[in-house]
Subunit: 408 residues, 2 copies
């Protein structure tokens, strides 16, 4: 029903993209633009950090139901920049509008990079003017936009899927994202600096907002690289309706496809966390409430002790229980189950609250399970039927190196 | 009034100490004992982690108002060990009672080390029997007990002070502590694995419990090495009254002395955090509530991005504001002040919400301030008059190394 395909942000009909070097960064691409030939229904979600970057404030104030374009710059977050920063974000909006002949209020703005520095608007305006001229469809344009929004990312995060709706319409969904550090999104209607753009040619109405939030809550909002939520996190989905057919707001096939796309993007962000060598997936079952299940997932994936143990494949599983105990969630220790999975190995650690292994030989099996690119921690809390899944990464020497040297 | 003196856990009258090698650890001292010649009024505080180690459960169940001895082992936390672990903790208690000829319920038990392994009780009992025979006063005995409770600690944490009470009585207060990783105590009446023992020959009654908690809330509970709260944190203060005089429960000199001792211990724990090269002190003023002030301190000192920036002396101060925004505390961005201090430098960063520096030259001054053994971050939230101070440390390559290899 849902089929992942080779494709990018311009795979759905009617979208064009560009990515250029404006000069804000020394060498790499640093300004991207997305354009929809027809105004698209826009779904937006922003960081819950109380210190919000200027473009985030602008988007919240605009609250535009439809967007025709989104401009994104990397290298400077335009955060902690006061009134001047806000005006700079507006200037970006107006410059795009002028180049494309559209209403400024239909232009989305996203920024990522250093906090607390003013934008070099001369360079940004030059970049906008070039990007507008280079808007294009196809894999090359996809790649340029994707690359232009990257900061410490080491891999491109893009994903495309095709799905047949219940009314027979064939629609496409694509997503790109950036984010490697300061990642613990809690995007309210979304957070990290994660910047995420989703395009679809499906017909969607504002009714879809709640489903959009639910999808984010189970995907982007369940990723944490370092527990630090950015000032700039933004997720924008543009639905331009060019595939035709009936509104897909309640179409289960569409919802399934969007969830699959967003889950894939979320996993990729975690996998590419700053300095990461391993993806950590935490699955919590048997929780009393959904919030409890999420809380345990977040506490475990954010624990520096759990993260560094997994980096070293150190079978110090007591730390997972330490994190569970700190989460604040309700559990029944005498019913708690913990399983560590990696590769083909599935090692029961705690069975009804009691350690399964005490022998040194078995500790070695835990180490072997942990010595894989993806380590899965499965916890059953034994007090209910709610569950949650989330993704993080190991804490490594490179995370420290990257963040001890970031601004210089 | 309060005078720090060269001294240790047996400096107050009537206390004896010992530390021996029982064999739980391969080579280092791993079992310590503290004894008071007369039953002492006991003030206890334990981890708030819902997964509590066996000795913590036992101490909570006993709830003994008076203690004559405390036994501490390192190398094994006796946590996640179920009924067998609980019985092992009781066995430790009884073994000490038998050796010293006292009631088992007057024996405190503390453990620290690996989680999820059963204790080797043969070795522990041998250690208890030896320690009981070696109980002594003086700096050598102080040092042995202090050393026997260490795990990844690199320095001994001990402190002694003398204070003249308002009624003229001269009393002594001493404290020792261990704790380097899994440190984010939230000791309820105390958390990390911090284990802390305080002795005093002052007369105190149970009335002093609230002041004891307040002192912990402003000292031990404001330390965080990694935001991970242990299953084993325990703080026990023994007041044996041998200095005579009136109860010191409300004596401001005594309270001041205890606060000074505990603050010094708290700073030492932060400074000796796993892999730490720098002490980070966060001072928050102008908060609406005390809880808000504490929340901001904790969020800033726990941010891996702030911690790694300070490790690298990277003047990426936007991260402090990112952490403030995530704390959940109330603040007025337009009134927020941020100052970074280090050595003789005091650099204003944010003045009424606006960055003070934009020039590269000034960024260099921030780097110089951060390039000190103690870096102080002062934040004024601009919405009230409450304040809090807390201590943490930088996030370094060594933290990762220590915790990627801990159990092996």
């Amino acid at each position: 029903m849902v089929e992942f395909i080779e494709g990018g942000i311009t795979t759905p009909q009617g979208f064009k993209a560009a990515g250029v070097h404006s000069g804000v960064k020394y060498r790499s691409l640093d300004l991207g633009m997305l354009y929809s030939e027809v105004p698209a229904t826009a779904f937006k979600a922003f960081t819950s950090n109380k210190v919000k970057a200027a473009p985030v404030q602008l988007m919240i104030n605009d609250n535009s139901p439809k967007l025709s374009a989104v401009v994104v710059n990397s290298g400077n977050a335009n955060a902690l920049t006061g009134r001047r920063g806000y005006e700079d974000a507006e200037t970006m909006q107006k410059a795009v509008a002028k180049e494309l002949g559209i209403d400024p209020k239909t232009v989305g703005v996203m920024s990522t990079g250093l906090i607390g520095r003013f934008m070099d608007m001369h360079k940004v305006q030059y970049g906008i003017s070039r990007a507008a001229k280079e808007l294009d469809v196809g894999r090359n344009a996809d790649g340029l936009l994707c690359e232009s929004i990257m900061t410490t990312d080491t891999i491109k995060k893009e994903c495309a899927a095709r799905v047949r709706l219940q009314d027979g319409t064939l629609v496409y969904i694509s997503a790109i994202s950036k984010g490697s550090g300061m990642i613990s999104p809690h995007l309210k209607a979304l957070h990290g600096t994660t910047l995420t753009l989703i395009t679809t040619d499906a017909v969607l109405t504002s009714e879809f907002s709640h489903e959009f939030q639910r999808t984010l809550d189970d995907s982007m909002n369940m990723v944490s690289v370092d527990g630090d939520q950015s000032t700039n996190d933004t997720c924008i989905m543009l639905a331009n309706g060019l595939a035709g057919g009936k509104p897909a707001d309640k179409d289960e096939n569409f919802i399934e496809a969007l969830r699959m796309v967003m889950t894939k993007i979320a996993r990729t962000i975690a996998m590419d966390g700053e300095g990461a060598t391993k993806l950590i997936t935490v699955e919590v079952n048997g929780a009393k409430t959904k919030d409890d299940a999420r809380l345990v997932v977040k506490t475990v994936i954010n624990s520096p002790l759990v993260k560094s143990a997994i980096f070293g494949s150190d079978p110090n599983y007591g730390r997972v229980m330490m994190a569970l105990g700190n989460s604040g969630a309700e559990f029944n220790l005498e019913e708690v189950h913990l399983v560590i999975k990696g590769g083909d190995l599935e090692v029961p650690i705690l069975d009804s609250g009691a350690p399964v292994f005490q022998e040194e030989r078995s500790v070695e099996v835990v180490r072997m399970a942990m010595d894989n690119k993806e380590v899965i921690l499965q916890l059953d809390l034994g007090v209910g039927s709610e569950s949650a899944v989330g993704w993080g990464c190991d804490l490594t020497y490179d995370y420290v190196r990257i963040n001890a040297e970031y601004s210089t």
